[in-house]
């Protein structure tokens, strides 16, 4: 079943076309990867899907309804969550607070109920707390929950980003280079972890990744960008053997 579709989305910055006519389909429960050399427009595609950039052209549909012109917070509320390539945690806040904040979007109590700590709010707050602690447990950060998020080592910050995204209760999760800066064992763990959260949380996952080991091991389908153009699309096998991909990408910029 289709969960997300984009029709010819295009993003231009002045004279530069960062993404051109991208047609994406994601089916429920899939893990799909987006790869391509540096500057190919991958993150830009994420930004269009999540509403951070408004596409210059084209339309995006989530579960059948159009989301092209929605604000990022509305899109997140519908069930699309993301992590950032250049980690964007709430640096001065604690690990726990980072995750708690991502629960806020579903709050039903208004600000007065929250101020007066009415039972309705207390109940919600307790639930948020429980869920956040669970998530921290899952990503293995329970012991660091009171630490300032910027004091965590890089790998843990990436995991915290995933926990934070999960706290919004998404159905579709976009991961922007989750394995960046990881060694082979770590990426191996990450691969398992991504599969596990997909199963446990019934997620669909769309990820950008440079580590070919991770990409090939995990994804069911792969899209390949080069200079904003989708040069290939198919199963890992097909992509590995695609001549254009090898020329544009694998031969040039293989750093995994």
């Amino acid at each position: 079943m289709e969960i997300l579709r984009s029709d010819n989305i295009t993003m231009q910055f002045g004279g530069l076309t960062a993404v051109k006519d991208f047609n994406l389909t994601l089916n429920k429960g899939e893990i799909v990867a987006l790869i391509g050399p540096n500057g190919a427009g991958k993150t830009t595609a994420f930004n269009m899907i999540t509403g951070v950039y408004k596409p210059t052209n084209g339309k995006i549909y989530y579960k059948g309804s159009e989301i092209t012109h929605m604000a990022p917070y509305q899109i997140t509320k519908l069930g699309i969550a993301r992590t950032f390539q250049n980690i964007r945690l709430f640096k001065d806040l604690s690990v726990l607070e980072n995750v708690l904040i991502a629960n806020h979007l579903h709050i039903k109590s208004n600000v007065f109920e929250a101020l007066l700590r009415l039972p309705k709010y207390k109940n919600e707050d307790r639930k948020m707390m429980r869920k956040s602690l669970e998530l921290l447990e899952i990503v293995g950060l329970a012991d660091e929950k009171h630490e300032k998020s910027s004091s965590l080592p890089y790998g843990k910050q990436r995991r915290l980003e995933i926990a934070r995204a999960l706290a919004t209760s998404p159905e579709l999760l976009l991961l922007d280079e989750p394995a960046a800066g990881m060694n082979p064992t770590e990426s191996e763990d990450l691969t398992k972890f991504i599969r596990q959260i997909r199963d446990d949380f019934n997620l669909t996952i769309f990820m950008i990744e440079h580590h070919m080991q991770v990409v090939m091991g995990i994804s069911e389908r792969i899209y390949v960008f080069d200079y904003g153009i989708t040069i290939a699309h198919g199963s890992p096998k097909e992509i590995q053997n695609n001549q254009r991909v090898i020329e544009a990408y694998l031969g040039v910029d293989e750093n995994a």
Binding site: T50, V52, A71, P72, Y73, T76, K77, A81, R82, F84, R88, L89, F90, K91, D92, L93, E97, L100, I101, A102, N103, H104, L105, H106, I107, S109, V111, A114, L115, L116, R117, Y121, E124, D125, M128, R164, A165, A167, T168
Partner: protein, 351 residues
């Protein structure tokens, strides 16, 4: 909170009430006035810190908010007679001439109308960011001032209002200051408060986590405006006189100094710094006035005090950016730790 902390907090409150009782009965008018100012600046500092420190919106419109609260409260509490005397150029507009309200409802309405103004200003202005927001809010404050200068039949224009009943006393000012502190603590530690802080830390990440930036910014701005209006109302009924010139940017500057010195994003810091700055303002008054030492008169220089405060502000920002408290808060644990840490040191010293 632990049981111990409840007791300690309760004891401190009782001590504070005792102190207010003592001060109210025994201290001279000048001291009482300074204490009142300290409490009022605590309210103002907290309200500005909510907007600037906790939500990260650089707003410079505080003097404008205060003027709304001050004028509404003053007009509602002025006696019919005082209104006639004040408005000798043009009489006050009809329904207002006979309205005389008790202090508290007047103050509340002052706060509520300021909140409304905050909402109306925030709705367009909060689409802007950073220094554009700063200039726009400063502009709105200036527009409010110009309006108040020109609405002769409501505000008495440039002449201002005199003979505002001196309702503000230590009970009101400290009572409301404590109420404000408690509200801020409850707000900041709620889910909404966390959303505010998220916006301060990183707007793009916050919005991607589903936080409606605009709604929360307007919310913070409106709550901040409410308390600024209350503070303005207290101030007007403390001083007894208000006029549009009082609400220039300098007033906003003073509050900004308080939150920068205390630590942008710390309730504790704001409270401490409100007292320190207010008392320092009075203590340094001699700089502006001449002092007679009996054998020689040292001439005071007008403006000297503000020179000191401007330098102070710059030094803090340049070399001690986090102020007194950074984003840290008071807790009994820390407090007791600090106190008990000293003991071993003392003992060690004696050996």
């Amino acid at each position: 909170m632990k049981k111990r902390d409840y007791y300690l907090t309760a004891i401190s409150l009782i001590l504070l009430i005792g102190f207010i009782f003592y001060a109210d009965n025994n201290m001279d008018a000048y001291m009482v006035r300074i204490l009142n100012l300290c409490a009022i600046y605590t309210i103002l500092g907290l309200s500005m810190n909510l907007i600037n420190g906790f939500t990260g919106l650089f707003s410079l419109g505080h003097a404008g908010f205060m003027s709304v609260g001050a004028y509404v409260t003053a007009i509602l509490t002025l006696s019919v007679n005082a209104k006639v005397q004040n408005f000798f150029l043009k009489p006050i507009a009809a329904p207002l001439s006979n309205v005389v309200w008790p202090f508290f409802p007047a103050l509340l309405l002052g706060g509520a109308l300021t909140a409304l103004v905050g909402f109306l200003i925030g709705a367009p202005a909060l689409r802007l960011k950073g220094d554009y927001l700063a200039i726009a809010t400063l502009g709105f404050a200036e527009i409010i001032r110009v309006i108040f200068t020109n609405t002769q039949t409501i505000t008495n224009g440039a002449l201002g209002l005199k003979g505002i009943p001196a309702y503000t006393n230590l009970w009101w000012s400290f009572g409301i200051a404590i109420f404000t502190i408690v509200t801020m603590i409850l707000l900041i530690n709620s889910s909404y408060g966390r959303a505010f802080k998220a916006i301060r830390e990183d707007e793009i990440a916050a919005e991607s986590m589903g936080i409606d930036l605009f709604k929360h910014k307007v919310l913070s701005f409106t709550i901040g405006a409410f308390f600024a209006g209350i503070g303005g109302g207290l101030l007007g009924n403390l001083l007894g006189t208000i006029d549009p010139l009082m609400f220039r940017f300098t007033l906003t500057f003073n509050i900004l100094l308080i939150i920068v010195l205390g630590g942008i994003g710390s309730i504790t810091g704001t409270v401490i710094s409100a007292f320190v700055v207010t008392i320092a303002q009075e203590a340094l008054r001699f700089l502006d006035q001449s002092i007679n030492l009996g054998f020689v008169v040292i001439p005071g220089v007008a403006g000297m005090r503000m020179v000191v405060f401007s330098i102070l502000l710059m030094l803090v920002v340049l070399f001690y950016r986090h102020g007194l408290m950074g984003t840290n808060e008071f807790s009994w644990d820390k407090f007791l730790n600090v106190i008990s840490m000293k003991k071993p040191l003392l003992k060690g010293g004696r050996k």
